[in-house]
């Protein structure tokens, strides 16, 4: 592993080794600064995200959680002028290394958004297959049917939609649409699933369904979730990182990261205590 030579932290090498022996895809973030043009939005993030578990990112509005999670699959670059300094290693490979194609990164690191966004012109089945069709143009019919069923079952949606796979996805309820988006994301078999406040537009029952789903998915995928809901973080995640911001115009940063039960019972930093006990934010 040549990475271990020129990087100070051996996390990268460990992660590469883990990936090689099948322990999953640890994400190692090193000295990450995220900019929009000249504006520094998030500063100096160092983080290790454990494979096959749920990691929650919490913090007040505007602290850069969403910006940070979008930098994990290079989606923030979609915005004009957005760029990063630093590195994000997955399987020991830097996502921001020279010659790395963001398109390839996004095929490996899937994403679910704040608001459900199925393609309105496509049927439910076509929505699930949307990503697969990008990867391999031709996919035969029985394969496609199998993949649709497998992905929808994986997203706990199969029983509800199996009789109307050819109907538009926009006809589903908000919670169903969000699970359809999760099915679409896992259909391309990513290694990592990023969820940017996936339940913020959903009612409590749909939220519960998504949380149960995350519990099942974490045995296969490395999941990172941004949430405003601290109870949700406590319910679904094993590790939690707390982001904050010192004031408007200041960059967001990570205050601390620890096991979720520690973060909510006995955090080290005063600002974390203030936040998780509801004294601010």
């Amino acid at each position: 592993m040549t990475e271990s030579v020129d990087t100070p932290i051996s996390d990268v090498a460990v992660a590469a080794l883990d990936a090689e022996i099948g322990l999953g895809n640890r994400i190692v973030v090193e000295n990450l600064n995220i900019y929009y043009g000249d504006f520094l939005a998030v500063r100096d993030v160092n983080m290790v995200i454990e494979p096959r578990s749920v990691t929650a990112l919490i913090g007040p509005s505007g602290c850069g959680k969403s910006t940070f999670i979008r930098s994990l699959n290079r989606m923030h670059e979609v915005i004009d002028g957005a760029r990063v300094e630093g590195s994000v290693y997955v399987d020991g490979e830097d996502l921001y290394g020279p010659g790395v194609d963001p398109v390839a990164v996004r095929r490996k690191v899937g994403m679910v958004f704040q608001r459900p966004n199925p393609f309105p012109t496509m049927s439910i089945a076509d929505n699930v297959l949307a990503g697969k069709r990008l990867n391999s143009r031709r996919i035969n019919k029985s394969e496609a049917e199998d993949l649709v069923e497998k992905s929808l079952r994986g997203a706990n949606l199969w029983e509800e939609v199996k009789d109307r796979l050819d109907k538009p996805g926009s006809g589903l309820s908000g919670g169903q649409q969000q699970r359809l988006c999760i099915a679409r994301a896992i259909a391309v078999e990513p290694e990592i699933l990023l969820m940017d406040e996936p339940c913020s537009a959903l009612d409590p029952i749909s939220t519960l369904a998504i949380e149960q789903l995350m519990n099942e998915l974490k045995s296969t995928y490395t999941i990172v979730i941004v949430t405003h809901n601290m109870q949700q973080a406590a319910r679904v995640s094993s590790r939690t990182a707390f982001f904050t911001i010192d004031g408007t115009g200041q960059p967001g940063y990570v205050v601390e990261m620890d096991d979720t039960d520690v973060m909510f019972s006995n955090p080290k930093q005063q600002s974390t205590i203030d936040y998780v006990t509801g004294r601010f934010g």
Binding site: N73, M75, V78, V103, A104, R106, R107, G110, M111, F113, R115, N117, P118, F119, P120, T121, M122, S123, A130, G131, L134, N135, P168, S170, C181, R184, A185, V188
Partner: protein, 318 residues
């Protein structure tokens, strides 16, 4: 702090304006209703005029003209639809391409400048286009393009020739029409492409789509009905275009798909413009009757377009 700063009577401020806003509502409602009715009345007036003035043709003694109305109008009708379709065929892909370039590819400054120039293209009077067609485009095409088409693609009925030496062909007319309808299709396509929800674009990109794949997956389906509407507005303009075609085309009373010869079917609108000054009596009625046919064609085209635009899942639903 901010909570106590709010004026305590904040909600009572609305009360005095309530009656005036009701009145305003009623006035505005009346104006928009009036506008809607005015459109229908105008349309009805035009239709009525065409019917009344065209009527004598159909009741006329068959010996009045040396051909029946149907055989008179058939080549014109064909020429109208043929010219407009060719123009649309050329303009639509180009317009969608330019619109995509402006909305998704070009750097902002270039996009704005280009958009401005294309809008400018829409402001050029059709007579200028006609003059440009006959003075610039026709000689170029007849010198370099038509002979080549005849020699190499002459086996296709479209390019059977003999190639016109003046360049006053259906092809020249269609190219000019295409340039004329390009701005409107581009402008409308650009607007709908720009309105593609960011969520849909990001959904596609997050699945690992390249930019072009994202456009196919998110932008084009969303813009589909808008592009069709734009195309139909363009087609409508091409169907009714008079001056440019009248200047360029060398007409004959035939039906042919040959687009590079001197013998071309005329269009209804251009035919009316050319013949009207020298017509009198029943001939005028006959010209107006061809206008009525054009009116129907436009009507049918619009109805068809609406059906196409509304079929399938509409992108605007989501």
């Amino acid at each position: 702090m901010t909570i106590t700063d709010t004026p305590p009577g904040g909600d009572t401020v609305v009360a005095p304006t309530e009656t005036t806003s009701k009145l305003g509502d009623r006035i505005f409602g009346g104006i928009s209703l009036g506008a809607g009715i005015l459109i229908l009345v105008t349309l009805a007036a035009v239709a009525l005029f065409l019917f009344v003035e065209a009527w004598p043709t159909f009741g006329a003694d068959p010996g009045e003209f040396n051909e029946s109305f149907v055989s008179y109008v058939a080549p014109l009708l064909f020429g109208t639809i043929w010219a407009a379709s060719l123009a649309l065929l050329m303009a639509l892909p180009l317009a969608v391409g330019v619109a995509l370039f402006i909305s998704h590819y070009a750097p902002k400054r270039i996009a704005v400048t280009l958009g401005y120039f294309i809008d400018l293209l829409a402001a050029i009077p059709s007579v200028v286009f006609g003059l440009w067609g006959i003075a610039v485009l026709a000689p170029i095409l007849s010198r370099s393009v038509y002979p080549w088409l005849e020699d190499n693609l002459g086996f296709l009925p479209f390019f059977a020739g003999p190639a016109s030496t003046s360049g006053r062909t259906m092809m020249t007319a269609a190219v000019v029409l295409a340039v004329m309808i390009l701005p409107i299709i581009t402008a409308i396509s650009r607007e709908v492409f720009l309105q593609t929800p960011r969520l849909h674009e990001e959904a596609s990109l997050a699945l690992g789509a390249t930019k072009w794949e994202m456009i196919q997956q998110a932008v084009l389906p969303y813009g589909r009905s808008g592009v069709i509407s734009g195309a139909m507005l363009g087609l409508g303009r091409a169907l009714g275009e008079t001056m440019a075609v009248a200047i360029i085309l060398s007409p004959a009373n035939i039906i042919t798909v040959n687009v590079i010869s001197n013998q071309n079917p005329n269009t209804i609108a251009a035919n009316i413009a050319l013949k009207f000054p020298e017509s009198a009596g029943l001939s005028v009625n006959r010209l107006i009757a061809t206008g009525l046919v054009l009116f129907f064609v436009t009507f049918v085209v619009n109805a068809l377009a609406r059906r196409i635009a509304n079929s399938g899942f509409s992108g605007a639903d989501g």
